[in-house]
């Protein structure tokens, strides 16, 4: 996993990839809030939300299979949700000889539908925005600077940590350690403090080098793409605004 590329990022070029990060973050958050605020018994609303998500997915040229494989992140929770109709209390219905709780069915649907729509929305954001751009977006959305500074270092140091861990493993192997399966854990646990220190000292050197070259808590503005104009905001609003409309309609029509 690197600072500029990770398993959930789809390196490509599309109108959605080119959108400024701040509008994509705002659109994702607004869309998810609208979905979660929708009453759970208004089933048609969730169908419309799913259709709405097709728009950015197609525009970003994210393959359906790529998205489908990554939605399995929530698979363990899907399995647990299937237990709800059996475990739930209250009014029950019979279906194929099974006695199912109505409340439990709605509960399972609630967790599944809202969870899946939220995961897909976040995946689309991740697919079209690098982690570095995400932090630029948060910075432009008036996120406090302490917050974005630490976040920038976090993404950079993830690579440092992974790199140091790999070097220490090679060092152990070359001194005759032969780690297998769970026994690796012992060597790893014994070295975790050393790993932390080595990563820190590398990070500290980099930080001091940055400070001595004029770093003041924010990367130079020229590094990042241009800020979003009115047209970008309008384009990004195409998904969350209808979603808000659907949420309001669902609440009113019930």
């Amino acid at each position: 996993m690197g600072a500029g590329h990770h398993v959930l990022h789809l390196d490509a070029d599309s109108p959605v990839h080119r959108l400024a990060p701040e509008v994509k973050v705002a659109a994702t958050v607004l869309f998810t809030v609208a979905v979660v605020a929708t009453p759970r018994h208004v089933l048609w609303a969730f169908g419309l939300y799913a259709l709405l998500l097709v728009v950015p997915a197609v525009a970003a040229r994210v393959p359906a299979g790529w998205l489908g494989r990554r939605v399995w992140i929530e698979a363990p929770f899907v399995l647990l949700a299937f237990a709800l109709p059996f475990a739930g209390t209250g009014e029950r219905v019979d279906w194929l000889g099974l006695s199912l709780s109505v409340d439990g069915l709605y509960g399972a649907f609630n967790v599944l539908a809202k969870g899946t729509l939220g995961v897909v929305a976040s995946l689309l954001l991740a697919a079209t925005t690098t982690p570095r751009d995400l932090i630029v977006g948060l910075d432009r959305l008036r996120c406090p600077q302490v917050f974005t500074t630490i976040a920038t270092f976090m993404l950079r140091y993830l690579d440092v940590l992974v790199g140091e861990a790999r070097r220490m493993r090679v060092a152990r192997l070359s001194r005759g350690d032969d780690p297998r399966f769970l026994w690796q854990l012992r060597g790893f646990a014994a070295g975790i403090g050393a790993l932390f220190l080595r990563a820190y000292e590398r990070g500290e050197r980099v930080y001091l080098a940055m400070v001595s070259r004029g770093y003041d808590g924010r990367m130079p503005d020229g590094w990042h793409g241009p800020r979003a104009g009115v047209r970008q905001w309008a384009a990004a609003a195409l998904v969350p605004l209808p979603a808000v409309g659907i949420a309001v309609a669902a609440a009113v029509l019930g």
């Binding site: 809030v33 979660v36 929770f77 709800l84 809202k114 991740a126 440092v160 646990a189 990563a199 930080y207």
Partner: protein, 233 residues
């Protein structure tokens, strides 16, 4: 494919509780930003980034506890020991925000609750215990390790109970047959185990750092340090 986590996901907590915890999180983080800005000097800035990266990495190890709720190491104790409560809570929050937005991990609308439990409550409880224990226990590596373990266990369970409280106030979905009692039992039980794991990892890490670079451990500032260094040599 890496293993990824979900904390509290979208739709588990009802709207009012999600909104209320978002307000709590916002107020708490504002305080942390103000106090943290004062703490963040040339030594703490890279340390905060590394602590956040470290927490990010250990939070990847996790397993489902209830539908839409997962258990994993939290890292608040480590953060409180190394960078202090204010910057520490910020580090954990940053991890949660990046996870929610980039890794679809934890619902965006449950972010308020997740930050309240894992960043604010976890770090605050850990730091209070650390402050008390470091003054009571002997100033040796063993004392520091014991502090880390105890603070880790108690703070993780406190964060888990924070979720139970929010769920009692306004859970949107019935998660188990046994109601609130069984949720509290499941959450406390699994998180006591997680807390032990968290405490041990924290202790190993912090003791190593304290032996070689005691200047980097925030919680040891203002305390007499020579004991720790001597006994290490």
């Amino acid at each position: 494919m890496e293993q990824l986590a979900l904390h509290i996901s979208n739709g588990v907590l009802g709207g009012p509780v999600a909104a209320a915890t978002a307000v709590v999180a916002a107020v708490g983080l504002t305080l942390c930003v103000q106090r943290g800005r004062r703490d963040l000097d040339d030594r703490l800035a890279p340390m905060a980034g590394l602590v956040a990266a470290f927490i990010f990495a250990v939070q990847m190890l996790n397993f489902p506890v209830l539908p839409g709720v997962s258990g994993h190491l939290l890292g608040g104790t480590l953060a409180a020991l190394l960078v202090g409560p204010w910057v520490g809570a910020l580090c954990v929050s940053i991890v949660l925000v990046v996870q929610a937005l980039m890794f679809a991990d934890g619902g965006v609308t449950a972010l308020g609750a997740n930050i309240t439990n894992m960043a604010l409550l976890n770090t605050a409880v850990a730091y209070l215990l650390i402050v008390v224990l470091l003054r009571v226990l002997p100033r040796t590596p063993a004392g520091l390790a014991a502090t880390a373990v105890v603070a880790g266990v108690v703070a993780v369970v406190a964060a888990a109970l924070g979720f139970v409280l929010q769920y009692a106030l306004g859970g949107a979905t019935e998660l188990t047959a046994g109601g609130l009692g069984s949720i509290a039992a499941v959450m406390t039980g699994t998180h006591a185990l997680i807390g032990i794991g968290e405490g041990v990892i924290t202790a190993v890490t912090v003791v190593t750092v304290a032996k070689t670079r005691p200047d980097l451990v925030y919680a040891l500032r203002g305390l007499r340090k020579p004991d720790l260094v001597e006994s290490a040599a």
